[in-house]
């Protein structure tokens, strides 16, 4: 196991030549910037793959009657759409941002374990190659939902072991990545950067990494037990053998609930970097924000069964999980109030990163409201497994996590490329995305309340109008993302970016040139410079 400093010594050897030329630079990379770039590009590709599946889903659901796909294939689409978006788009995007920005933000030359970093990334294309190949197998791709409940998931055809294997691979990638994040943050901060002095993006990633090393192994355990039930004669979840299908749900959601916080905490971190910059005002309540994020992370471990309110849980259990779930609203609210207080009496400008961040605050809050409604158990009896839930989680994931990823991309793009991206195109991308995302997902609240279940390829005719609107919104949203691709492709045409890029920015990452040199902070930043950059 080498350290980043040793690598830096080696690299100084090669520095005058720059990075290796050709594919080897990428295949064998141990550079956090290159690995970050690969994660981000991979995630963008997966976003479009998952998005294509969403297009299939929304095309079929545009009007009642079955027009385009068979129900089995529809179920594969919903299953694969979720697996790809969660594990292939959102999570790798945040890991990409972490790889790029954490070393820069703490004044470290690279991640602590650069070779493990390489494997963390390269496992992913293999995992998703395997998962996507199941579309071509007899029996088709998995169609039991991304939640993989037994016994249904055991009815998957030839694809089953490949599903399990690819989930194991994704898990290993995440676990290695989060070990790297923890080790880097704990051991490689610049002198004088105490934990509480770290930027919020670094803090939220530290917390996220702890969640990851705890719960990804639990998912691995759960799918291992599915595998042995299917092939090795065990009966963990099979009633006929004395097992319990509900136990799978407990284990899965013990992973699954922290997982959704894993997908949102880095988003909180990104937004906490951007809003202060464009308000020209320090983040309000920095320490409070750290405590709130930690509180959310802790609570995320004890609420899992709110995904299981109709499973037949004893009353005491239902009461406990309802109260604990409602409690999470408190630290989450604290964070929202702090962002608003940061804006309050600032001097705001509205460049694209700020627009996405502001939309995040608005629309994530709406997602949070439907989350609070879902927490109320008797009401959840009516919402569970309906489109109300679909509306809730898409609000927190799309104008939540995805918008934060876009915000971060726009914010840090000039640091990565050395040029200002096309602001007009960025704003167009923002407005199109925001309008269409609401058109797509807001009507789903009504559909759920009116009684439309989830995961159905066709529906009773009274659900037509809102479904049609949602499908139009989805197509619009999908097409709007091409604007983002255009921004990326023309990213290097803009004017050269300064070191600081944005007038109100603070932090060590803005003390290095734009584009950031392949090696940065090969010697730790001087305490004085470090301290000023924190202010």
């Amino acid at each position: 196991m080498t350290t980043a400093v040793a690598d830096a010594h080696d690299a100084e050897h090669h520095d005058d030549h720059g990075p290796t030329k050709g594919y080897k630079r990428w295949l064998f990379s141990t550079n956090h910037k290159d690995i970050g770039t690969m994660y981000l590009i991979f995630s963008l590709v997966m976003f479009f793959v998952g998005g294509a599946m969403a297009m299939v889903i929304r095309s079929e659901l545009a009007i009642p009657g079955l027009q385009f796909v068979h129900p089995e294939f529809f179920n594969s689409m919903t299953t694969m759409h979720a697996l790809i978006m969660v594990f292939g788009a959102v999570m790798p995007a945040f890991v990409g941002l972490a790889n790029w920005m954490i070393p820069l933000m703490i004044g470290a030359p690279d991640m602590a374990l650069p070779r493990m970093n390489n494997w963390s990334f390269w496992i992913l294309p293999v995992a998703f190659g395997i998962l996507l190949s199941t579309l071509l197998m007899p029996g088709g791709a998995p169609a039991g939902g991304w939640t993989m409940y037994p016994p249904l998931i055991l009815q998957t055809g030839d694809a089953f072991p490949f599903l399990i294997f690819s989930v194991h691979l994704m898990g290993i990638s995440s676990i290695m990545g989060s070990i790297n994040v923890i080790v880097t943050i704990i051991n490689m901060r610049a002198p004088d950067m105490s934990l509480l002095k770290m930027p919020m993006f670094v803090w939220t990633w530290l917390i996220t990494a702890y969640l990851l090393i705890a719960v990804m192994p639990v998912l691995a355990g759960a799918v291992t037990m599915l595998l042995t039930d299917q092939f090795f004669g065990t009966s963990f979840f099979l009633a006929a053998g004395g097992g319990d299908p509900v136990m799978f749900q407990h284990i899965f959601w013990f992973f699954g609930h922290p997982e959704v916080y894993i997908m949102i905490l880095p988003a909180f971190g990104v937004v906490s970097e951007i809003i202060p910059t464009f308000s020209r005002k320090k983040l309000f309540g920095h320490d409070s924000m750290v405590y709130a994020a930690s509180c959310i992370a802790f609570l995320s471990f004890i609420v899992w069964a709110h995904h299981m309110f109709t499973v037949g849980m004893p009353l005491t259990g239902q009461l406990f999980f309802m109260f604990a779930t409602m409690l999470i609203a408190v630290p989450t609210g604290v964070k929202i109030f702090n962002w608003v207080a940061t804006m309050w009496r600032g001097a705001m400008t509205f460049e694209t990163p700020m627009l996405f961040s502001l939309a995040f605050v608005f629309l994530f809050t709406i997602g949070g409201f439907s989350g609070l409604m879902l927490a109320i158990q008797p009401a959840d009896v009516q919402y569970h497994d309906t489109y109300f839930v679909v509306a809730h989680f898409h609000y927190v994931l799309v104008p939540g996590s995805v918008f934060a990823i876009m915000a971060g991309a726009y914010y840090w793009l000039p640091k990565w490329t050395g040029h200002m991206y096309n602001e007009k195109l960025g704003k167009l991308h923002f407005w199109a995305s925001t309008i269409f995302v609401n058109l797509t997902f807001f009507p789903m609240h009504f559909l759920g309340l009116a009684g439309m279940p989830r995961r159905i390829p066709d529906y009773s005719t009274q659900f037509t109008d809102f479904n049609t609107i949602a499908s139009i919104g989805a197509i619009g949203f999908g097409l709007s993302q091409l604007l983002f691709v255009a921004v990326l492709l023309t990213a290097k045409r803009g004017e050269k970016a300064t070191d600081r890029v944005w007038e109100g920015s603070h932090g060590l990452e803005w003390t290095v040139p734009s584009p950031a040199p392949w090696h940065t902070f090969t010697t730790p930043p001087k305490a004085r410079i470090a301290n000023e950059a924190f202010d």
Binding site: A6, I175, S178, N187, A220, G221, M247, I251
Partner: protein, 36 residues
Amino acid sequence: MDEQERKKNIRRTALIAAAVALAFYVGFIMMGVMRS
């Protein structure tokens, strides 16, 4: 802190984190075994 010490710390943190991950994996499977 010198390089050797930093390397040792990095190794130690990484091993602890890996041990936590392993503990959760094995622990949950054991729980599955004991409950069935």
